[in-house]
Symmetry: C2
């Protein structure tokens, strides 16, 4: 309980720091392998020419994801959590020590692959994105409701595989609406680029709102 | 720390109870949507005619998985954990209250979808199975090493989709070996039945061993 309280206090401070420095911060959660890194790499690649953008990624082990995100040619830092199954505000704060927030327009944070624990830890972000892939089935929102109803928008990934896995898009939308009515949902494929334009348009409108 | 210690003590007691009653217990972990329920449903269906078999399944919410497992026509109980991201020995012990262990040959336990936290909680099982699907990518073992090196065997699921997602089977095996040398790995499809015979043969040999 103290851990959560401490995190909330620190997250609120971070949120104020981000707002004062004019940095738009978005975090990304999903189960392992839903396609967060692929989605972020694509997003970063598309935005890097217009915005000063950086990324943080948390994992229990390896710097694999940071290496992949770095292919977008933006500054990226890997946070290795060891045994901790979620990112916390302290970890984000520590990682930002040698970046000047006034020099940044946006910061994207990829959380540890986990559909449960990250929902309890505010990171000071302006936008929380939850991802689910067509390959996971349609009922994940119902089975992991908190991570969906604590997020702002949802992204259904790997749409290029929807047919191969007989994905029931209508059922997936119904599941999301059941736990978070009127939640905005994007359908994308990081592989083919399907749906990325709509997502980027939404994101850039958010940058403007944040200013 | 006390929570973990208490769990270990209870798990050890459970393990002894299971052994004395001659019940073979196996637990199944993986990320959400890797195919635990589909795999278990298939396994239960194949074994029910020869063994007195039951299943427990843990989820944050819904009884969806228990309903699916029940299609195998064996006794199934759903454990709803609320916000707890893993099963614990206490939950298993509580769920078993109205079953007579002496009347059972096997008990299968599906854990909450989570590649992190369940690795810290012994449930008294004789066999720990970790699953990963072809759709999650090949590096999950490297990125979530503890759940793999605390398991006894690994199962690569959704082999029927391997080609559609350009799965690199060799790389997946290499990842597993890197974190748990000589770990036995099964390649299956719950959809087509591929690999199920080998898995069932292994499992039944384990029942005998356990006696
Ligand atoms: N076909 C297809 N595959 C995808 C897509 N996005 C990601 N993948 C694949 O899915 C697997 C997992 O993708 P990642 O980007 O590593 O997923 P992740 O959510 O970052 O995983 P963690 O960081 O471990 O939680 C990889 O093999 C990707 O190539 C997509 O849009 N279409
Ligand atoms: N093509 C194919 N799809 C599968 C296979 N096994 C499971 N699926 C699909 O994958 C999705 C998730 O399967 P589940 O069995 O619910 O996965 P799970 O690991 O039990 O998920 P949680 O209990 O939420 O952690 C469902 O849409 C299944 O139909 C398989 O072998 N092949
Ligand atoms: Mg990733
Ligand atoms: Mg399941
Ligand atoms: Zn956790
Ligand atoms: Zn946990």
């Amino acid at each position: 309980q103290n851990v959560l309280k401490h995190n909330d206090v620190l997250a609120r401070e971070l949120r104020i720091r981000f707002q004062k420095a004019g940095v738009f911060v978005a975090s990304f959660v999903s189960s392992p392998g839903s396609g967060k890194t692929a989605f972020l790499e694509k997003t970063l690649t598309k935005l890097r020419s217009q915005y000063r953008i950086t990324a943080l990624v948390g994992d229990l082990a390896t710097a694999n994801d940071a290496a992949r995100l770095a292919r977008a040619e933006v500054p990226v830092k890997q946070i290795v959590t060891g045994t901790i199954c979620h990112l916390e505000a302290q970890m984000v704060s520590d990682s930002l020590q040698d970046w000047d927030l006034n020099e940044l327009d946006c910061l994207f944070i990829e959380n540890v692959g986990n559909l449960v624990c990250p929902s309890s830890y505010d990171l000071g972000e302006a936008l929380r994105v939850v991802l689910m892939s067509t390959t996971e089935g349609e009922d994940k929102p119902l089975k992991y409701p908190t991570i969906f109803n604590t997020a702002d928008v949802a992204v259904i990934t790997k749409m290029d595989l929807a047919e191969a896995v007989e994905f029931d898009l209508k059922a997936a939308h119904a599941s999301i609406q059941a736990v978070r009515p009127a939640m905005q949902v994007f359908e994308v494929s990081s592989k083919t680029g399907e749906g990325m334009d709509k997502w980027l348009e939404f994101l850039q409108a958010k940058f403007v709102d944040g200013q």
